[in-house]
């Protein structure tokens, strides 16, 4: 930006001081703009929520580049409120609120299939993640396990890495894998939903357990069918915890056996 920052100081000071309010206004504008583009320019072919999330990601890239930090747009002082609005507390409050839409009759069937999806999802992530690391030349069991954990979620990766004493560069790769996964899930879900039968609570619970990434699942379902969000979130939410549990223990043991 080539505007003189000193002249804008009174404005940016205000926006920074009322950060959460600023974030609400910014997100409101993004959502409004996305809906307008979706309806008038793209004639409903892409949901407005997908465009809004894309805009959020673009904002994150821009913000991260300008601030040189790792928190996306929240690294810019007057946009720091986005870190609060998109942070764990409000995110989880909103996710739990969507549970109000769960129909108890759907819960039992969705839950059982969801558990199968959860276990399969973890196995697939660690297995393919590990194979990818090996294919790219990694041979150290700690590095392979850490990168495999990153293919689970961007929390499981770093947590497993620190537990195993992995190097910072390996942890960064693991984290990147997790973020790419979340973004891919977020963006691809509405596009593939129909072809994979993601249109009912049980499928959503299975999908949540298979994908595992909370941000990806919640974002992906939001853009597909908001009514499915609670079912997907229900299983996705256990994925990270279980991943952190088996990563440094069982998975590491298996990797050591295979590479030893």
């Amino acid at each position: 930006m080539t505007l003189d920052p000193a002249a804008l100081a009174p404005l940016t000071d205000l926006l920074t001081a009322d950060g959460l309010v600023t974030a609400l206004v910014v997100v409101g504008l993004i959502t409004w703009g996305a809906e307008a583009v979706a309806r008038h320019l793209l004639r409903g072919r892409v949901p407005g929520s997908v465009l809004a999330i894309l805009a959020g990601l673009a904002l994150a890239w821009w913000g991260g580049t300008v601030s040189g930090g790792s928190r996306g747009a929240a690294g810019i002082p007057w946009l720091a409120g986005l870190g609060l609005l998109g942070g764990a507390t409000l995110r989880d409050l909103a996710i739990v609120a969507t549970a109000f839409g769960i129909r108890p009759a759907e819960l039992a069937g969705a839950g059982a299939a969801g558990v199968v999806g959860l276990i399969t999802g973890l196995v697939v992530a660690f297995a393919l993640g590990g194979v990818s690391a090996y294919a790219c030349g990694y041979r150290d069991p700690v590095a392979v396990t850490t990168i495999a954990a990153g293919a689970a979620t961007y929390i499981v990766g770093p947590v497993t890495g620190s537990a195993l004493g992995a190097g910072a560069d390996v942890i960064a790769v693991a984290f990147a894998a997790g973020v790419i996964k979340a973004i891919l899930v977020m963006l691809l879900t509405p596009l593939v939903a129909r072809s994979i039968g993601l249109d009912n609570p049980r499928a959503a619970a299975v999908y949540g357990g298979l994908m595992g990434t909370n941000s990806g699942v919640v974002g992906g379902l939001a853009a597909t069918d908001p009514a499915l969000v609670p079912y997907g979130a229900l299983t996705a939410t256990f994925y990270t915890g279980l991943g952190c549990l088996v990563g440094p223990s069982i998975v590491h043991g298996i990797v050591r056996l295979l590479l030893g």
Binding site: A23, V27, I30, S49, A52, I53, A55, G56, A60, G64, S70, R71, L79, L82, G86, G87, R91, L93, A94, I95, V96, A97, T98, A99, F100, G109, A112, A113, V124, L128, V131, S132, I147, G150, F175, A176, A177, G178, V179, I180, L184, M186, I196, G197, L198, N200, P201, R202, M211, S215, V218, A222, V229, A233, L234, T235, T237, F238, G241, L245
Partner: protein
């Protein structure tokens, strides 16, 4: 009143986090295992009980609905705080790992749904 709904929601989240932290300690993991999932189950149970006692009025429900309603905007804010730069510079292995896992997981959705057996539920294909 609106606040009743929001306070109920908040209480379920806190309760879920407590249970998740306890579960994590039992399993020997740091943090929280499934706290949000437990919170969701608590909310479903609590609202079912309140509804049966006739104490769930429209205003209370509105206090919960608002938070469910703005969760897409919250996701947009979440997206805006992701380390997209790291994702783009993470190198081939990060993209390979993420890409193969996502592709495989998507393909497995219909498979697992079908394996899960034929339980009563709406939607889904019938073989």
């Amino acid at each position: 009143m609106l606040i009743y709904g929001t306070a109920l929601l908040g209480g379920c989240l806190l309760g879920g986090r407590l249970a998740g932290a306890w579960l994590a300690r039992q399993l020997g993991v740091a943090g929280d295992v499934g706290g949000v999932g437990i919170a969701m189950l608590l909310l479903v149970a609590a609202t079912a009980v309140l509804r049966r006692c006739g104490r769930l009025d429209a205003r209370t429900v509105a206090g919960i609905d608002y938070w469910g309603g703005i969760y897409i905007p919250i996701v947009v804010a979440l997206a805006a705080t992701l380390d997209v730069r790291a994702a783009l510079t993470g190198g081939g292995v990060a993209a390979l790992a993420a890409g193969t896992v996502v592709a495989a997981a998507f393909c497995l959705v219909p498979v697992i749904v079908r394996i899960g057996g034929r339980l009563p539920g709406r939607g889904g294909e019938t073989a």
